[in-house]
């Protein structure tokens, strides 16, 4: 195990960042007409959603990296986000107007499951070496992305609203959204913590895992299902936010080593910090216009991905 460089300091700094973001979200910005309402019905749920979504995305990325044994796996890059978006856009087009978040979640789940299935098929032992997996995932991302864009083009009235959403936005998050995300994150987090021991074995390869009594296929199905659930709920609430899933697990492993259980709290906190800080920046940088959060995470994440790719 690599030496865990500064585990506690990073936990503390991540938590500090979250609190800082919380302060700005809750107390910063122009005062509103109804401060009570604004605080409890707009700002607090928004902040909590950001925190929970960040944690969920960080966890989802970690899970996918574990399942595919590929350090570059990420919900956005493997097409999970995009297929979920596609289904939601389809729902919006067919259903018209704003459907209930529960329906959006169902649609996102369905869409995400398609990608999840493809990922499972592709991560079967030896079938897809790591780069090919990424490229296959990219193709799916591409496919569903193009499909979504095409569908959006056919629905010009809501074009910009939808366009903004498809890049990830947290405005308009309600308590229901927060509960949905939290409701998925909590069990996912608990399950992953409990199963971590078994899942770690997957890192050794399918044959080795079988030799140690673990069924790699079943475990992978578990992991990918959890990842898809987390991504789907995030997409349903805030649209696709990419790159969180690749930055956070790596930074966390840098600080905490490869042991999944040790990394977990750090991943959750760092993810929360990344998204909540990005949300604050998204609101303030080009005030009063709002930058989609996904754009900010991409602007930070893509260069990081670039850097990681150089070290391959």
């Amino acid at each position: 195990m690599r030496a865990a460089a500064g585990y506690r300091p990073s936990l503390v700094s991540a938590a500090a960042l979250v609190l800082l973001a919380g302060y700005f979200t809750l107390y910063g910005g122009p005062p509103s007409a109804d401060p009570q309402y604004s605080f409890y019905q707009v700002r607090l749920p928004r902040f909590l959603s950001a925190v929970l979504i960040g944690a969920a995305l960080g966890l989802a990325g970690t899970l996918l990296q574990l399942a595919t044994r590929n350090p570059l796996s990420e919900p956005e890059l493997l097409g999970v986000n995009q297929s979920a978006v596609f289904c939601v856009v389809l729902l919006l087009l067919l259903g018209g107007g704003s459907p209930h978040p529960a329906f959006m979640l169902l649609a996102a789940l369905l869409g995400g499951a398609v990608s999840g299935l493809a990922i499972l098929l592709m991560s079967a032992s030896g079938a897809f070496p790591r780069e090919r997996l990424i490229l296959a995932g990219l193709t799916m991302s591409f496919f569903f992305g193009s499909a979504s864009s095409g569908l959006l083009l056919l629905n010009e009235t809501n074009l910009f609203e939808l366009l903004h959403w498809t890049a990830g936005k947290l405005s308009g998050a309600t308590w229901l959204d927060t509960v949905l995300v939290g409701g998925c994150l909590l069990p996912a987090g608990v399950v992953s913590f409990l199963r971590a021991g078994q899942w770690n074995v997957l890192l050794l390869g399918d044959d080795q895992a079988r030799g140690l009594g673990i069924d790699p296929v079943a475990r992978r199905v578990e992991i990918v299902s959890l990842a898809v659930l987390l991504c789907a709920v995030c997409v349903a609430v805030a649209g696709p936010i990419g790159f969180v899933g690749i930055i956070v697990p790596h930074l966390a492993s840098f600080m905490a080593g490869l042991d999944y259980r040790r990394r977990l709290p750090l991943i959750l906190l760092m993810g929360a910090a990344l998204v909540s800080v990005s949300d604050v920046l998204a609101r303030t940088l080009l005030h009063p216009a709002e930058i989609p959060v996904g754009v900010l995470t991409a602007l930070v994440g893509a260069p990081y991905f670039l850097y990681r790719a150089q070290r391959l």
């Binding site: 490229l135 602007l299 670039l306």
Partner: protein, 322 residues
């Protein structure tokens, strides 16, 4: 060319001709008889001449450019998954174009293709510098990261400058809606460049499939050949994206099909690729127009719908060894 190739070439050419006829005859307005079509072309009047013909020509040229660009990239990188979209070259061109539109307005500006070429070249140069000498995988992943970055910036611009971004957005997503003679004129020199350049480098680039070391021992000057291939590929992709936005998969899939039909010799597969690309995009555009008028399904969407499953099939069947 060997006899089988000639047959296949003629076959694809016929398909293209057929699609062209269909494209000119059918559309959102009345369906025309072939006689009326010819009449309108010759007299320079009517919906065929004013709208359908230039649009069809643009579609074919865009398809040709993307397809040849993809084939050259795949030969250059020895990676069957390379394509101008994946590597961010088209995204770079798209970004430059979006900036140009937002700053300068009107898509019909005659500098648009050059601006796109500039943007695409910048991305290509970055990929080249960062990815050079690296494994093919790293090369691709570098391109992926740059593509993501460029797309993020594009989205940022579109969302921030919402009102004037309408045009940019609709254009960007890959459609041939409203493309006319002005676009044909824009593309023509680039198409000429790519075709002539392609023919010129085809034989010289053939040994690349044996790998850079063997190619060098056969007397190939990689330091000259590679930049040429890059240049041609970027030029093709940039010109196409400036005119039609990102029509994905053409640069990725068509070269594969072309290689299966034409064999590994670039002197044969480059013309094949161009022809197939023209056919594919024209078909997609035609289908998109006639499926349920007056609604127009963007060509990019249809290409994605047709292309991705086929590509998935290629991947699964292992016909895309890296």
């Amino acid at each position: 060319m060997k006899r089988q190739f000639v047959f296949r070439f003629v076959g694809v050419l016929s398909l293209l001709a057929l699609t062209l006829v269909l494209s000119l005859s059918f559309g959102a307005t009345d369906a025309l008889s072939p006689g009326a079509v010819v009449d309108q072309i010759l007299t320079g009047q009517g919906v065929v001449y004013l709208f359908r013909l230039p649009r069809a020509l643009t579609a074919m040229m865009v398809g040709l450019c993307f397809a040849i660009s993809g084939l050259l990239l795949q030969s250059l990188t020895r990676n069957p998954l390379a394509s101008p979209d994946l590597l961010g070259v088209t995204a770079g061109g798209g970004l430059a174009t979006v900036i140009a539109i937002l700053v300068g307005g009107a898509l019909a500006g005659s500098y648009i293709t050059w601006i796109a070429f500039l943007g695409a070249s910048v991305v290509a140069a970055i990929i080249w510098v960062l990815g050079r000498g690296a494994s093919a995988q790293r090369f691709i992943l570098t391109g992926v990261a740059l593509s993501a970055l460029a797309h993020a910036v594009i989205t940022l611009l579109l969302v921030t400058y919402a009102p004037s971004a309408a045009e940019a957005m609709i254009w960007l997503k890959g459609s041939l809606f409203g493309r006319g003679w002005v676009h044909v004129k824009l593309l023509l020199p680039w198409v000429g460049f790519v075709c002539l350049g392609g023919v010129a480098v085809a034989y010289q680039a053939n040994p690349l499939i044996l790998g850079p070391t063997v190619a060098t021992t056969l007397g190939i000057r990689l330091s000259v050949l590679r930049p040429c291939l890059w240049l041609l590929s970027v030029a093709g992709a940039a010109a196409a994206v400036a005119v039609s936005g990102t029509i994905g998969f053409v640069g990725l899939i068509v070269p594969h099909v072309a290689r299966r039909l034409a064999g590994p010799d670039l002197r044969v597969s480059i013309p094949f690729s161009g022809l197939l690309g023209a056919f594919f995009v024209l078909l997609a555009d035609t289908v998109g127009r006639v499926l349920s008028p007056p609604l127009e399904i963007p060509a990019g969407l249809i290409c994605a719908f047709l292309g991705a499953p086929y590509f998935g099939y290629l991947l699964v069947k292992g016909k895309t060894d890296i």
